[in-house]
Symmetry: C2
Subunit: 215 residues, 2 copies
DNA sequence: GTATTGATTTTTGTATACAAGAATGTTGAC
DNA sequence: GTCAACATTCTTGTATACAAAAATCAATAC
């Protein structure tokens, strides 16, 4: 498992962008970053390339790379896409999930419930992530799994914000139960529909998302 | 538009991989490629990074990058995912597509029909691509559009193979008509279902896909 | 004061040099 | 002949050097 220096830098940068360390449109200075990481420009440039590929930054030739924090519209679009990906996963999972997979899903949901009772938002956040990943896995489609994980990771910081709002955790948990039920009975259409609704951002959730953006 | 040398190399490499110039597992030699493109290792390495990011190659640290031609299973998974992405686009497009968009879609389909009558597979292939892209655009979701285009591009070489089989073009065209109808009447569920079925690979199509792989 | 042109400085992109790990080949023991 | 230990060669990853484009600044014209 040999990690290159560039890999670590890429991860660090990703974290920094997620933490909102950089404003939208800000230029990422190769030389400055190289100094900060005590490394030459080469691995920094490699890391920047990745940020660009993953859509977190934009590269303008001969000008540099500029970070792109998604605005409300793009965020909505990403959540909308995530909802469809999850619906797709649910559709397949309902037909393909094994008993073991369903067991792991129920376990994850149990841990979600524990977190809600303890009012531990951080833990709920984490277990909720696992719950959804179990469904991605249940779809039995490595490519779709990868795409779902990728977007889930990208949306991570924004989901975190949302969960802080009152009642979200309890409601989310109730929806989980319905989803598990649909998957257990093998109802593809229902599973897809429930997951789409579960992830879709609209109405009150939309307001919360936008509000979270400004902080 | 300032294209870097590395960008051109990345494109060329992508083309070469698409054309099956490299076998699965083959190592991409930086030095050899640098010589071939009459350039230093630096831009070659940048291009290789992209191949890895786009999933067309795998990087093993300190060992090099090896191209990964998808096998039957992964190909099926990608087509399955494409079907779901198209279904999602169709779902949104049915609700959001403008009259202009519908007009462009009909135009594209007309050109598809012309191609079928001329039995011009290459032209059908091209116009069919545009037809689908019109639907992606109709979804009015830039992020989803980007994802759809990305996977469509990745699957391009395999779709090409499929169209060579007898009757595929005519059947595909008939399905287009149904899809247009669903989009015009704004039936999201039907549009999603039709597009999913249109893109899904199974039964005879599966055999054709596998057969095409071996040549 | 503003704008424009040209010189100067930065910054990106590419080439080359160097360091370290991996692969390969050779020698010697058995 | 097989295997193991070592030396050699190759290849990747990083650092540095250089070229060219862009940004910045200064001087001049108006």
């Amino acid at each position: 498992m040999g990690l290159k220096r560039a890999d670590q830098i890429a991860e660090s940068l990703e974290q920094l962008v997620f933490q909102g360390e950089y404003k939208d449109g800000e230029r990422l200075d190769e030389i400055r970053l190289a100094e900060q990481f005590s490394v030459s420009r080469t691995p920094v440039r490699e890391a920047l390339q990745r940020l660009v590929m993953s859509g977190m930054a934009e590269q303008i030739p001969r000008r540099g790379v500029f970070i792109r924090q998604p605005g409300p519209v793009e965020l909505l679009e990403m959540f909308e896409t995530m909802a469809e990906l999850e619906a797709a996963c649910g559709r397949f999972a309902a037909a393909r999930m094994t008993d073991e997979g369903l067991e792991r899903l129920s376990d994850a949901n149990r841990r979600c419930r524990d977190a809600v009772e303890k009012e531990d938002a951080a833990e709920y956040y984490h277990e909720n992530e696992i719950f959804h990943q179990e469904i991605y896995r249940g779809a039995t489609n490595s490519y779709l799994l990868g795409e779902a994980l990728r977007l889930q990771n990208r949306l991570k910081p924004y989901r975190r914000v949302q969960l802080r709002f009152r009642g979200r955790m309890a409601q989310s948990l109730a929806e989980h139960d319905e989803i598990i039920q649909a998957l257990k009975t093998g109802d593809s259409e229902l599973a897809a529909k429930l997951l789409r609704a579960h992830v879709t951002v609209q109405g009150e959730k939309f307001q919360q998302l936008i509000a979270g953006l400004k902080n």
